[in-house]
């Protein structure tokens, strides 16, 4: 199923002008606040009527201003998970979950109550009221409520933004299961690089209402110019496989075409796929294979490009066995080491800097 968006919309001084087509399982709309992400999602959901444009999901036209088509929100079969959960306070968790099911056409009630409740671990909450739930529990119920309406598309508008780090870590695995197990494509709004790096299959980058870039997650995150506002949060995403569990030192050894790296122990079976994010500011560059160094991970590669970021920093894009790795270093270092495109170098990464949360299991792909 694919999502096609081609929208021009004006709201006061703000102009949204974006067009992309995604067939990904989880398409992230990424950008700083005020970039138009939520407006775009509300247009897809039918909560905002665009001035001009077209939205098509799975071959079904939801809006086409040229042909005067506008499917109202309640007929779109789009599951919307809001940032603030928006559970109905007068209904129990169970009634909240089954609310959308009631309105879905009988033949299309494909979502299985027990399966969804099991997937989200909310079986113990069914008889409670939303007011008594924690933030993370509310968000899980909100996800379940959207799923049980048997939607054809799921929209998630910064579902983790109002949660603290611990709650985020609690929800993320459920979003991953949703992405990998449910056959419903997801549009996920976020301004957080770690979230997008871990969850997205495709990324649409929005800047001040315009589409700055669109593509697969790896390709977009390697383009640091898109993420410069995130101050070194950007970097490469490597798809890797678990090669070995080093229990003596509580580490996991991962393998990819770029080479092997060691990360803090991740509980995953051998051979399973992982996604690792290497932040550019955590990657060092050496012109010879370093010796007598505490950092454990050394990946050989070739400089593909040098991109100045500011007066004193430069992003070095490396090709490591076909995978992109980015290092953010000082301009002084690039001149002292006489770095130039085509030059073979080594990327050095401290194991301790690779976030366990960034090492998310990837099923299939």
């Amino acid at each position: 199923m694919s999502l096609r968006v081609d929208i021009r919309h004006r709201q006061g001084d703000f102009v949204l002008d974006a067009a992309f087509e995604s067939a990904g399982r989880l398409t992230a709309l990424f950008g700083p606040s005020g970039s138009g992400k939520t407006t775009l999602v509300n247009i897809i959901a039918g909560l905002i009527r665009p001035r001009q444009g077209r939205v098509e999901a799975g071959g079904r036209v939801l809006v086409d201003t040229g042909r005067r088509v506008f499917v109202p929100a309640h007929r779109r079969r789009v599951g919307y998970v809001f940032q603030d959960a928006r559970l109905f306070p007068h209904l129990s968790v169970r009634s909240n979950l089954t609310y959308g099911r009631f309105f879905a056409p009988r033949a299309e009630r494909t979502a299985d109550f027990d399966a969804v409740v099991g997937m989200l671990d909310i079986g113990g909450l069914l008889d409670r009221r939303p007011a008594s739930l924690s933030g993370g529990e509310k968000q899980r119920v909100a996800i379940g409520r959207a799923l049980l309406a048997s939607p054809r598309l799921i929209l998630m508008d910064e579902p983790l933004a109002s949660l603290d780090e611990a709650r985020k870590a609690e929800i993320m695995p459920y979003v991953e299961r949703l992405r990998d197990e449910a056959a419903v494509p997801i549009v996920y709004v976020s301004h957080s690089v770690p979230e997008v790096a871990r969850l997205a299959t495709d990324i649409a980058v929005l800047r001040q209402g315009r589409l700055a870039a669109f593509g697969p997650t790896g390709a977009i995150l390697a383009r640091l110019d898109l993420l410069s506002e995130e101050a070194g949060e950007g970097g490469a995403v490597l798809d890797m496989a678990v090669r070995e569990q080093d229990r003596a030192f509580a580490m996991t050894v991962l393998r990819s075409p770029a080479g092997e790296i060691r990360v803090p122990a991740v509980n995953a079976p051998l051979g399973s796929r992982m996604r690792v994010r290497l932040r550019a500011r955590d990657v060092m560059i050496a012109t010879e294979r370093p010796r007598g160094l505490s950092a454990l991970n050394v990946l050989p590669g070739v400089i593909a490009a040098l991109e100045p970021v500011s007066d004193n920093t430069v992003d070095v894009l490396l090709d490591c066995g076909g995978q992109a790795v980015v290092a953010r270093i000082t301009r002084l270092s690039t001149e002292r080491l006489l770095l130039a495109p085509g030059q073979p170098v080594f990327a050095v990464i401290k194991t301790a800097s690779v976030e366990a949360a960034g090492a998310a299991p990837v099923v299939g792909h």
């Binding site: 959901a45 039918g46 909560l47 109202p72 929100a73 309640h74 007929r75 779109r76 079969r77 789009v78 599951g79 919307y80 809001f82 603030d84 959960a85 928006r86 559970l87 109905f88 306070p89 007068h90 609310y99 959308g100 009631f102 309105f103 879905a104 009221r129 939303p130 007011a131 739930l133 509310k138 409520r145 959207a146 309406a149």
Partner: protein
């Protein structure tokens, strides 16, 4: 304390008042909710006019309202003649007319309370219900109305209390016929106009106070329970 015991005629006035006020409240509720929803949630041409008409009985002299009702719903009035001919509903000099007068006089209070509580319902919840497949009518029925319930109850009690006390429009429209249109205020007024009626007036005044106070206490309790049930998530 024997002077406290109500005479049979006084009982008739009390029962009639309760019947008239209850009918006025129940019968005007659907229209009241619809008008409150229109005023709270929709933009349309003539909205301020509708708002003005709804609130008119609040600012007009009750006698004027009663006289207008007499002109419209009297036996020869256009609305009165139509209803009598096609539906067999007669208002003039009947208790039904008293209920109509009370309903019209109390309508602004009913609409105002419900409108405020609908406006207080989080529209984001309504949008959420829409994305889950509920049409705007179903959104109203399953989300807006239950969440506005404390306000609806408050409006009904206000309406009931106002109807219990309505005097000017009722006496102008349907007169002061014992057993048919003589409600509590009319009966009290009648007692004050005859010699030796002081005790009767005092007894009915006490009854009035008890009923009104009881209504207020019940409404507080019901609204408190309802708002606890819909406490913000």
């Amino acid at each position: 304390m024997a002077w406290l015991a109500l005479s049979p005629d006084e009982w008739v006035a009390v029962r009639l008042s309760l019947k008239v006020a209850a009918w006025a409240t129940v019968a005007s509720l659907p229209l009241g909710i619809a008008v409150a929803w229109l005023l709270a949630r929709r933009e349309f041409w003539g909205k301020s006019l509708l708002n003005g008409i709804v609130h008119l009985p609040l600012v007009l002299p009750p006698v004027v309202t009663g006289y207008l009702l007499l002109l419209a719903f009297g036996r020869r009035g256009p609305a009165g003649a139509f209803l009598a001919e096609h539906f067999g509903i007669v208002f003039s000099f009947r208790w039904t007319g008293a209920a109509l007068a009370c309903a019209v006089m109390a309508f602004p209070l009913l609409v105002r309370a419900i409108r405020l509580s609908i406006e207080a319902v989080d529209r984001r919840l309504e949008a959420a219900a829409g994305t889950l497949g509920a049409s705007s009518f179903m959104v109203f029925l399953t989300v807006t109305l239950p969440l506005a319930l404390p306000g609806v109850i408050a409006g009904m009690i206000l309406c009931f209390a106002k109807a219990m006390g309505e005097f000017g429009a009722t006496i102008t429209f349907v007169s002061n016929i014992p057993g048919e249109t003589q409600t509590l205020p009319s009966a009290i007024y009648t007692f004050t106009q005859v010699p030796g009626g002081e005790l009767g007036a005092l007894r009915l005044t006490l009854v009035s106070i008890v009923i009104s106070l009881g209504a207020l206490i019940v409404s507080e309790e019901v609204a408190r329970r309802a708002s606890r049930r819909v406490a913000a998530a």
